[in-house]
Structure formats: C-alpha cells, structure tokens
C-alpha cells in the first residue's frame, strides 16, 4: 500500500489584530489507502485547522498556509489552482462537519443537496441522482429513504442529519473522508451509532478515514493510527496500542489519566492536566508542553523537541521519553 496523503511540514497561520496565531506548526505525517487515522487533542490544538488546510478551506485572509506540502495521490494540493482543487473537494476528499444542525442548507430538501454533489462530480442527471440519493440515505440507515429524500433538514433529527451529511460525503465515493468531530454535537447513543456506521462504510468502501475528535474513547475503538496534537504540533503518533498501552508523551499520559473510569468510586475527583495550553500567538521557545509538564527539565524550556521514532512506527516529541519510561516503570 502506498501513501494516499502525505503532509510535510504544514504550517497554518492566522493574521489577527492580536498578532499571528500559529495554529499549525510544521506537522508531517502520512496516511495510507484505506487507513483509519484518529486525530486527538484538546480544543484549539489545530486539529480542525489542519484538516481544513488539507481541503484548502482556510479563509484567506486572515488565514494563510505559510509553508508545507500536502501530497495527495502524487499531487501537491497547495499548488493546485481553484478549479482543480474544487474537483478534488467532494469527489476525492470529502468532509463531515461537527454540527449537523447547521451543515445542511435549510431551504433545500436533503435529497436536493445530495443530488447537487452528484451532479457536480459524477455528471448524473436529476433523476439518476435522486435514485442514488435514496440509495445513499438507505446505506447510512435512514428508514424509508425513498420518502425521506424529499424532506427538509428541519424534518430530520440531529442524528439523521449527521447520517445525511455522511451520505452526502460518501456520494462520490471519496478516497479520503475527513470527519471533523462528527459526533460531538450528538448524544452518546447516537454517537456510537455514527461511529459504527462509519466503520462499517469504511470497511465496505475501502476509503481512508481521518477522524478528528477530542474523545479518546471513540478513536481507541476505531483508529489504526493516532496522532496526538498539542498547540499545533503532533506530539505523539502511533498505533492505538502504542498510544493507549505504551504511552510515551507526558501530555498523552495526562489525557489518558483524565479519562474517567467506570469503576471509580462515586465522588472521586476527576483528574485534569493543570494549566492551559500555550498562547498560539506567542509560542514558547522550547517544548510547547513545558509549562504543564511534570517531568520537565531546564533543557525542555530552551529547546523544542522534534518528532522522533521511539520504536518502529511509534513517534514522540519529547526530550525525556526514555527517562520517563524508566521512571514510570519504577
């Protein structure tokens, strides 16, 4: 399997009145065909921005993709002109957004909006498109899809709307589906259904999925590889096993520790990582996690660690991962 998506040193900036917000700071990674990649991190760590950068949906200005290369099937997405990137959007790379309540246009029927994508990329006629739209809605598990095609978004529940969004994203059988926190706005049972649905569809259609979330539980279940992001950097990358069982980075440890466990006694205080992520306008010179790290040393304050391979396929950006492991073992 060769690489579907290869990102090299991607940097995205936003020029605001308060200064330059460095939202994504030189991240590099690869995604293979049919792979499920989880991207986790807390709010404002650049997860969504890096996904939008891949689609070139960053608003310029104030945004700017300052540096980097995004290879998608051998083409640099950042160098394509508007018409070429438009052909890729929706047909090769599709995206599902966070809030299903606002991501469907209220003045058109759900079917119309799916048909529109089909007409755009597959040259389908209105009639063919409508049949296909009904099939797609059926595929994503909407009952009575033939009738539902002519419904307006306000006649759909939140979960159904998200299903419709997924149907819309899948309409042109994309090679990469970017799901930007698709379950955040939904309640837990619907979340599980959506996750199951995407896993099922991923297996059937063989597309790659990038699942962006702050919910570690969700990615543990579905992702083969996980990128942990912090302040616009990837600070740890590895398989789900690596991240959850052989954690190396102190931030990931903190994240995992703050997951509430089901056998905890009631009334136990929830653990959280003290402090706040650094100001993206004024990034610290050294390790971005320095201020909150319990293993920090002076060296970390001055020098920024790069992503290095700790074990095959398991990368970490920390000066002391070796020592921490020893300490942890003790």
């Amino acid at each position: 399997m060769d690489a579907l998506l290869k990102i090299e040193n991607l940097k995205t900036r936003f020029h605001t009145e308060d200064g330059v917000v460095k939202a994504v700071n030189g991240i590099s990674y690869e995604m293979k065909k049919g792979e499920v990649l989880g991207v986790v991190g807390e709010s404002g760590c650049g997860k969504s921005v890096h996904a939008l950068s891949i689609m070139r949906l960053i608003q310029i200005p104030p945004g700017e993709i300052a540096d980097g290369v995004i290879w998608f099937e051998g083409r640099n997405l950042l160098e394509l002109d508007e018409n070429e990137i438009r052909k890729i959007r929706g047909s090769d790379i599709a995206m599902v957004f966070q809030d299903p309540m606002t991501s469907l246009n209220p003045v058109y029927t759900v079917g119309f909006q799916i048909v529109e994508a089909l007409k755009l990329h597959k040259n389908m006629s209105e009639k063919q498109g409508k049949v296909r739209a009904a099939e797609l809605l059926d595929l994503v598990g909407i009952p009575d899809a033939k009738k539902r095609v002519d419904n307006y978004p306000h006649q759909f529940s939140g979960g159904m709307r998200q299903r419709a969004m997924i149907a819309m994203a899948l309409s042109c059988s994309p090679k990469l589906l970017i799901a930007d926190e698709p379950t955040t706005a939904l309640d837990v049972t619907i979340q599980a259904q959506i996750v199951d649905l995407v896993i099922k569809l991923q297996e059937e259609m063989g597309m790659a999925v990038m699942w962006i979330t702050h919910d570690l539980g969700v990615v543990a279940e579905m992702a083969q590889l996980i990128n942990v992001m912090y302040a616009g950097f990837i600070i740890e990358r590895g398989t789900a096993q690596d991240i959850f069982k052989r954690t190396l980075h102190p931030y990931t440890m903190g994240l995992l520790a703050s997951l509430p466990s089901i056998d905890e006694a009631p009334g136990t205080k929830l653990i959280s990582i003290p402090g706040l992520p650094p100001d993206l306008v004024d990034l610290p010179q050294g390790c971005p996690f320095y201020a909150r790290c319990i293993y920090r040393k002076d060296h970390c304050q001055k020098n920024r660690p790069g992503l290095e391979e700790a074990k095959d396929g398991h990368y970490v950006a920390c000066w002391r991962w070796d020592e921490i492991k020893v300490e942890g073992a003790k």
Partner: protein, 409 residues
C-alpha cells in the same frame, strides 16, 4: 439498531409529514393573517385597476379638456350641471378625476416598481458581492473583474468632469493592472507611488485636453483613485470601498438627494424613477451585505464549498435563498416608500410632465382650489396615495411575519 418484525408496509413514520416548500409555508401563514390579506387585496386592486386602465381604457391626457365642466363635485347621476357622470368630480380643467386617478395609478405604481427594482438590483448585487467576498477568498479572475468594475465606477467622476469617456477605461485598466501587480507581491510603497502616479497621469493628461483647470482637478481625483486602487486587493477592501460609497449616499437626506438629482436631470417620470431608485440603493446594499455576512458563516456554506461547488453556486444557490426573506420584506415596504417619494416629486412638479396624470402632480395641481371648496380634487388622489402606501405596508408587515423563520410553526 433494534430489529423489528414489521413489514415495510406497516411502518408508518409519523415524523414524516407532507413536505411543504418554504414558499408554500409562507403563503399558508400569510393567508392566516387578516391584515396582510387586506393589504394584499388593496395592492391587487390598485395594480389591476392601473394595468387594466392602461391597456383597455384609452386616455389621451393632452386633449382631455372641458372648460364647461370645471371643478364639478362628485356626482353619480347625470344632472343639469354635469352632463357626464363624474364619480370623483372634475378638476380645474374639467377633467374627470376618477379617470385620472386610475390612470395616474399606472404612472405612480410604475415609478414605485421601477425605482425599487433599480435599488434592489444594484444595491442587492453590490451588497451580495461585498458581503460574500468579505468572508470568502476571491479567485484571481474575480478580483480582476471586481477591480476593473471599481475602476470603471471610480473613473466615472473625473471622466464626467473632463468630458472624456476614455478616462473611465483608463481607470478600469488601472484596476486590472493592480490585481496583476498584487499577484507579483510588489512592496507596498512601490505600489503606492506607482499607482498614484499612474492615476495622476490618467486623470490629468486626458483632462488637459479640455482645459488646464479641468486637467488639474482630474489629476487630483486620479491621484486619489490611484491610491485607492493601490491597496492590495482583497474582498475586505472591495467591500469597504463599496460600503463607504453607500454611506456617502446615505448621508444625504433622501428626498433632498432625489430632488437634486431630478433637478439636475430635468423633470420627467423616467428621471424620477432613476432618482428614487438611486437614493434607495444603499438600503438594499447594507441589508444584503449584513445578511450575507451572517449566512456565509453558517456551516452549510462551508459544507457546500467542501463538496466542491463554485463561488457562483455557493452565492446564488446557498446564500441568496437564505437571505431572500428580509429583502422581500424590505422591497415591499420600499415600494410604499417609493410611491410616496414619487408623489412628493410630482407634487413639487418634478415628476410626470403636466398633462400626464400622476397622483402627486394631481395633488399639486389642485390644492390651491381647496380653499374654494373643491375638496374632491385633492381628496381622491390623496386617498389613492394613502391607500396604496397602506396596502404595501400591511402586506410587507404580513410578509415579515410569514417569512420569519423564527415564527415558523
């Protein structure tokens, strides 16, 4: 999902109700609103009577004169004093007021409709583009077209002063050059000097062909335009320039500006339309821009972009339908306003040219006879103005309620 042993025919999904489109829904709510229906009926009566009268009831205002029937009171029966039926009486020239009021409706309503269309189309498109490009990045050719248009518009003033049409095209070209230079990333200072110089040349030299003073004035104007065009191209800049021009128009009292324009163009119905339409442009531009700004932040616009849709489709298929309701309401209300403005211009003798019937000018013609007891000559055209304005206002109010998504049941 749980399995249920129901055959597909048995499943009755009660959440699925008969789907109605937005417009059908709005119409249903409008029907339920009694005052709106009254407004609609009044408006329809006026529109129909005016149209039917215009096409099927010949009227030649220039030969309509009957000194024997001067200032007759309304009568519904033939008598010794009046040999014809005059339901609304006659005016100082013995013309039947009923007839003139009905025919005047054609002119007055036409002024209203055309004026609102002018301000709606020009203002709406300016506002749409300004709002859209403020939130979404422009393509190269789009910025080129917009800057060319801006150069055209800005060049109009010096071109008019110098009486040299080609000045307009010079500034248009300057706009296009500015986009190309923008792509080359020239430093800010060089741009500024370059464009100020070019603007000065374009304005001044062509003005000099006419007279040194004109050349000087045009040169100074060109300098300003060059500086404006030298600002690196972006949606924000375009929007800013357009909206500031709108603010300038808005800074004049609207009636005064309309009167000034008509006084400048000369009286006449068409010129009245132009003047009233022009004065209304900023209202629609602001409305459209603000609506586009809020709608284009919605996720479905981003989603449509992520599906790979072009800017045109995003703007006209996804944004426009969502901002239509405030604009429709404003246009309906604006019609009432435009009719009123048209009547005001007519009253001052700046609207329709005299023998042509028009409500405002009918009022202006006859108010002098009010003191001699001819109340009917003023009452009926006045009533026509009042009722049509009321009708449009009631309808507009009803539409606002009907189209407001927050009140949707």
């Amino acid at each position: 999902m749980t399995e249920m042993n129901l055959s597909p025919g048995e499943i009755e999904d009660f959440a699925v109700r008969e789907h109605r489109s937005l417009w059908l829904d709005a119409w249903r709510r409008l029907k339920a609103n009694r005052t709106a229906i009254i407004g609609l009926i009044v408006v329809l009566i006026f529109l129909l009577s005016a149209t039917i009268a215009h096409f099927f009831w010949e009227y030649e205002p220039k030969i309509d004169l009957d000194y024997s029937a001067k200032l007759l009171p309304p009568n519904l029966r033939v008598s010794e004093q009046s040999l014809k039926i005059h339901p609304f009486g006659t005016d100082k020239l013995g013309r039947d007021i009923f007839r003139r009021t009905v025919h005047g409706g054609w002119n007055s309503l036409r002024v209203g409709l055309v004026a609102v269309s002018i301000s709606l189309v020009v203002g709406g498109i300016l506002g749409l583009l300004a709002g859209f490009f403020e939130s979404i990045e422009m393509y190269f050719w789009e910025s080129m077209a917009l800057m060319a248009f801006l150069g055209l518009a800005l060049g109009a003033l010096p071109a008019w002063i110098a009486n040299q049409i080609f000045q307009v095209f010079l500034f248009c070209a300057l706009g296009i050059i500015s986009v190309i230079v923008d792509k080359k990333n020239l430093s800010k200072h060089i741009r500024r000097y370059l464009f100020a110089g070019l603007g000065l040349l374009a304005g001044g030299l062509s003005g000099l062909l006419v007279a040194p003073l004109v050349g000087l004035v045009c040169g100074i104007l060109g300098l300003g335009i060059g500086l404006l065009l030298a600002i690196p191209v972006g949606g924000k800049i375009f929007s800013n320039i357009v909206m500031r021009i709108m603010d300038i128009i808005l800074a004049f009292p609207s009636y005064l500006l309309a009167i000034a324009i008509v006084a400048f163009l000369g009286p006449g119905l068409e010129k009245g339309m132009l003047a009233i339409g022009f004065v209304g442009i900023p209202i629609y531009a602001r409305l459209a821009r603000s609506a586009v700004l809020s709608v284009s932040q919605k996720e479905y616009v981003l989603a449509s972009q992520a599906v790979g849709e072009s800017h045109g489709r995003m703007l006209f298929r996804h944004i426009v339908p969502n901002i239509l309701s405030p604009i429709i309401v404003q246009a309906t209300m604006g019609l009432a306003n435009a009719i009123l403005s048209a009547a005001a211009l007519g009253f001052l003798g700046l609207g329709a040219i005299p023998p042509e019937p028009e409500w405002g000018s009918m009022l202006g013609d006859s108010y002098k006879y009010l003191s001699s007891g001819a109340w009917w000559a003023v009452l009926f055209p006045g009533l026509a103005i009042m009722l049509s304005v009321l009708g449009f206002n009631l309808l507009g109010d009803g539409l606002r309620d009907a189209l407001d998504p927050k009140l949707r049941i």
